[in-house]
């Protein structure tokens, strides 16, 4: 009887070893390579598949791409720490891939990736990430709520001229602090370092009218349901509810433009193929392909005029003259302190 127990234990140990040690193992020239691409899932990742991954596989028969979702920074870090990296290319938000995350990433090879064309002044990088899509943090409003549409972040904070509840992103780095300072009169080029006292004082004026959201789906849903008359959201989310007939418009007169980025986890078994995929996605020829399937814009400045003509009016790159940018580097250095202060404020 006891021997049976040991047999079971041995079997478990074998399974464990197989799981831990398996996976990957490619390398060598000319062999078939399997790349794992991880992104945010849903309609977004489907669009990325059609616009980039499938054409890339057709053009590169030696590379097969498998996919995972959703991206999770903690998981990526844990993979790198454990030395068992199973993701090769990851799509991350603007809050990842700068100095504090470099230890988990491979540097981007700018000899094949067109780094210079990817507007580094607007989409900051320290060499370990490049932007793949451009979107905006926007204010959207119900067209049936006001006679005159809002035209500035100041209007978002003006509860007298624009009464009703506000949809507010419950995340310190989500853009609300920047909106508050600009509404309070801070010139966009002097936004950073953020004056937190001033920002929270301004936010206090709308705090009890805020309906706080955590996910993009919620941000759009509360506008579509009429729970709020005006709310922060992301331009792609608003486009979706507009297609479903919601009486909602985006205020393009003032918005915060930002990007998603591609990174390569440190210790990937396929660094060369990963760099090739990133070079393909960000190239002037392919960067605009995504706009055929979803309202996100190309970061490559040479691709901006190649976007799907039917979506020009819905893309943030069309309104870059009214756009404000996040200072991701400042955020990377200050996130912990600001986020703690944010939680203290929002809990009070």
């Amino acid at each position: 009887m006891r021997r049976k127990i040991w047999t079971v234990l041995a079997a478990f140990a074998l399974i464990g070893a197989a799981c831990g040690g398996g996976g990957g193992g490619e390398g060598g020239g000319g062999e078939q390579v399997t790349l794992t691409f991880v992104s945010y899932g849903g309609a977004y990742q489907e669009a990325q598949t059609k616009a980039w991954l499938e054409p890339f596989m057709e053009a590169n028969p030696d590379i097969t791409i498998v996919q995972e979702e959703p991206i999770d920074y903690a998981k990526l870090v844990a993979m790198v720490e454990s030395g068992n990296v199973t993701w090769d290319v990851a799509d991350v938000g603007n809050d990842f891939g700068l100095a504090s995350d470099e230890q988990y990433l491979e540097p981007i090879d700018c000899s094949i990736v067109p780094c210079d064309e990817l507007q580094p002044d607007l989409f900051p990088t320290t060499g370990y990430r490049v932007p793949d899509i451009v979107y905006s943090v926007v204010v959207a409003y119900r067209t049936d709520a006001f006679d005159q549409p809002p035209t500035s972040f100041a209007d978002f904070f003006d509860l007298e001229r624009f009464p009703g509840k506000r949809g507010c992103f419950n995340w310190s780095a989500g853009g609300l602090l920047e909106m508050a300072l600009i509404a309070d009169g801070v010139p966009p080029d002097q936004l950073y370092p953020l004056d937190l006292d001033r920002a929270f004082a301004k936010l206090d004026t709308i705090k009890d009218q805020c309906v706080w959201w955590d996910t993009g789906a919620q941000s759009a849903q509360i506008l579509a349901d009429g729970e709020v008359t005006m709310g922060m959201s992301w331009n792609g989310r608003i486009y979706d509810i507009q297609q479903e007939g919601a009486p909602v418009e985006i205020m393009w007169d003032q918005h915060i433009v930002t990007a998603d980025y591609l990174v390569i986890p440190k210790g990937t078994k396929n660094p060369e193929a990963a760099q090739r995929l990133i070079a393909w996605i960000t190239s002037a020829d392919h960067s605009a392909e995504l706009s055929k399937y979803i309202t996100y814009a190309p970061p490559n400045e040479k691709a901006v005029d190649k976007v799907d003509p039917s979506k020009v009016e819905d893309l943030p790159t069309t309104y870059l003259d009214t756009a404000i940018g996040f200072d991701d580097v400042w955020w990377d250095e200050n996130f912990d302190a600001v986020d703690t202060r944010w939680q203290e404020w929002i809990q009070a």
Binding site: I5, Y73, A74, D95, D214, D336, D339, Q343, E344, Q347
Partner: protein, 291 residues
Amino acid sequence: MSQVARQGRRAGSIRSPLDAWALLAMPGFLFLVVFFLVPLVRMGLRSLTDPSPANYRIFLESPIYLRVLWTTIRTSLIVTVVCLLIGYPYAYVMHHAGPKTRAALTVLVLVPFWSSLLVRTYAWTVLLQDSGVINSVLRDLGLIDEPLQLMRNTLGVTIGMSHILLPFMVLPIWATMRRIDPDLVPAAESLGAPPRAAFRKVFLPLSLPGVFAGCLLVFVLALGFYITPALLGSPQNAMFSELIVNMVSERLRFGVGSALAMTLLAVTLVLLAIGSRFVRLGDALGGMESR
């Protein structure tokens, strides 16, 4: 066949614990060791070594951690009381109902087990929000001008969580009631006790183990919630788990996140220890077993 089974069961007596029946428990035991105990120990170590035990100083750095811990305990207490107030009469009716009514009541209380937590929470949103079903009906009837604040506050959190956790209160109580000798209450009444006294002095005390078991289950499960409070409450209703997620997934400070998680675990164990002064923990499991 049945004889074989009976023999097997007889063989599974206390004298030889490592027989075939004990072996059946091995996969479960190994699973718990590999996927629960080992990670738990590693997390405990991490909270002390990544980079140092100073991780626990997070509680001194900002008042929010203790505040949210208190919110979490308070919310769990409120939900436990609400579940008890609804669950005890419900179990009592189940116990005394005829077979058909009981089957219907059982199905009703089990339905939450069969649908996803997220779907149920969104369904509550559709009902409770300002433009939701309840407020729309009340407004159409002319009963209210301004929408009632039914969610994005403690009320919404309590409604949503109580709905999800109610089965964990009803089932142990009902299981305990079923084991009460059905002749005891009539016996008390035949000796002259009015129905109310018979209930209070005979039935209620005998059903208390189920009550304690249900309360413990609901309270401990409630401590770990965070999606429902996030969707039906306001940021002021945030639960401790949300801070852990924030620390691990957004700030990537695994050591501090581990310290927060270990603290929640320690608080849970302390509260369980206090609870176990009133009830043997085994009763909680016994109650569930006879479901």
